[in-house]
């Protein structure tokens, strides 16, 4: 599903990923752990082209996303990403946050996208927030909306960049439950996390990174 071959990435002159080779199977859940600044987030952002790689190749299914001819916008629409700080669009309602990309990128009809938003919000138990603005949500609610926003694009892969680091323990649980239910549905996921118990419980595979390299990969 996702294949990285000898990927190296730099941030300015700093090498943040060194010679990473990983193969992630369809439907598998990979947890990425490691100290701050070890390149976990960069790893994720390379997978959907938000960070360019210096060398090496990345494939999603059979499409090489590191090739110049690849339409990155199309790849990104198939690879959902959820951030630590939620990054909801503060000037748009929850409904608009969710329907924007399906309508503008995939050309979905507005009513269709709204139906999808309603059914996805029901799943995470936030239907009553549909007309609220992001600032009116708690952190856990905002993160679940952010997950729904990505899911509305019907992605093949979901990437999570420390989805619970900005949340208190109770809200963390809400968000982890949402991710677990996605796992049950067979979504391919890569999760950067500090929640070790969650990693052990949910992940098929745990990759430990340090200083831009993969130190250890454990089958769980």
């Amino acid at each position: 599903m996702i294949r990285l071959e000898n990927v190296t990435a730099y941030y300015k002159n700093l090498c943040v990923l060194q010679d990473i080779t990983v193969n992630i199977a369809k439907g598998s859940i990979v947890a990425l752990i490691g100290p701050s600044g070890c390149g976990k987030s960069t790893f994720l952002k390379c997978i959907n082209g938000l960070v360019p790689v210096r060398s090496g190749r990345i494939f999603i299914e059979d499409t090489e996303i590191t090739s110049k001819n690849t339409d990155l916008n199309r790849i990104r629409s198939e690879v959902g990403i959820v951030f630590q700080q939620f990054n909801l669009f503060p000037h748009l309602t929850v409904k608009k946050n969710i329907t924007l990309a399906p309508v503008k990128v995939k050309g979905m009809k507005l009513e269709e996208a709204e139906d999808l938003a309603v059914s996805l919000l029901k799943k995470v138990d936030l239907l009553d927030k549909i007309d609220k603005y992001p600032e009116q949500l708690s952190g856990g609610q905002a993160q679940r909306v952010a997950i729904v926003r990505s899911l509305a694009m019907q992605p093949k892969v979901m990437l999570f960049d420390e989805p619970t680091s900005a949340l208190d323990p109770q809200m963390t649980q809400e968000v982890l439950d949402t991710i677990k239910s996605l796992a049950k549905e067979g979504m391919t996921m890569v999760v950067v996390t500090h929640e070790m118990s969650f990693a052990y419980e949910v992940a098929d595979r745990i990759i430990y990174m340090d200083k831009g390299r993969i130190k250890e990969g454990i089958e769980n």
């Binding site: 959902g80 990054n87 000037h91």
Partner: protein, 222 residues
């Protein structure tokens, strides 16, 4: 004791109205054009490639570091040397639009820069292209923050439009100045002129304030 003579104003009133119309017309068209120029410049400087960044940075620096009066004369007097003859009002509109557009682009840029890179990443991560990201995510948030300084730019434009009287446009400043020197009634004409400009710009301040309230009601700014 100075005797205020209202009659001279009444006599000049039809001319003043004509002048106000011209000032209003020039300001109105220039405001729209300046805003569009500002948009193109800020998009190119924040989302464009290296070439357009350099080009538009140089453009903004050239425009805001030279006097508007010189720019007006370049359009009015220098362009005809190259066979481009334009009506003085058109010259005024072109120079005012470019001049104010450069300033507006700087105001907009400060707003765009205040929106975090994370918003950009979230938008691109969903598959929106650069233009969509700018139009739907970055710009709507940026504009809310910069409404007050943006309003000031439009107010400046109206006041700066008085310089077109130097290139033979009979705008309201021209009428006031002519009235004042013809009749030796400086106080009456210049006070009236100040009030006329205040009315024109006060209108912009009202619009700007109502936009600010409108957006304040709709979610926070970033």
């Amino acid at each position: 004791m100075y005797n205020i003579d209202i009659d001279v104003l009444l006599v000049a009133w039809p001319e003043l109205i004509k002048g106000i119309k011209i000032t209003f017309f020039i300001s109105f068209i220039s405001s729209i054009a300046a805003f569009l120029i500002g948009l193109v410049v800020v998009y190119s400087r924040t989302m464009g490639g290296d070439f357009s960044k350099t080009f538009f940075t140089a453009f903004v620096e050239f425009i805001r570091n030279t006097p508007l009066l010189i720019q007006l004369y370049i359009v009015y007097k220098a362009l005809p040397e190259f066979g481009i003859h334009l009506h003085p009002i058109a010259c005024g509109i072109i120079a005012l639009s470019i001049y104010t557009g450069a300033y507006i682009s700087e105001v907009l840029r400060s707003g765009v820069n205040s929106i975090t890179g994370e918003q950009y990443q979230a938008a691109r991560g969903l598959g929106l292209n650069r233009l969509q990201t700018f139009r739907l995510i970055i710009f709507p948030q940026a504009i809310r923050i910069v409404i007050p300084p943006l309003g000031s730019q439009f107010i400046n434009l109206v006041k700066n439009s008085s310089l077109v009287s130097f290139i033979a446009v009979t705008d309201v400043f021209y009428v006031i100045y002519k009235g004042a020197v013809d009749d030796f009634r400086f106080f009456e004409f210049f006070i009236t002129g100040a009030l006329i400009y205040m009315l024109l710009t006060g209108f912009i301040a009202l619009i700007s304030n109502s936009f600010e309230r409108h957006y304040h009601a709709l979610g926070r700014c970033s």
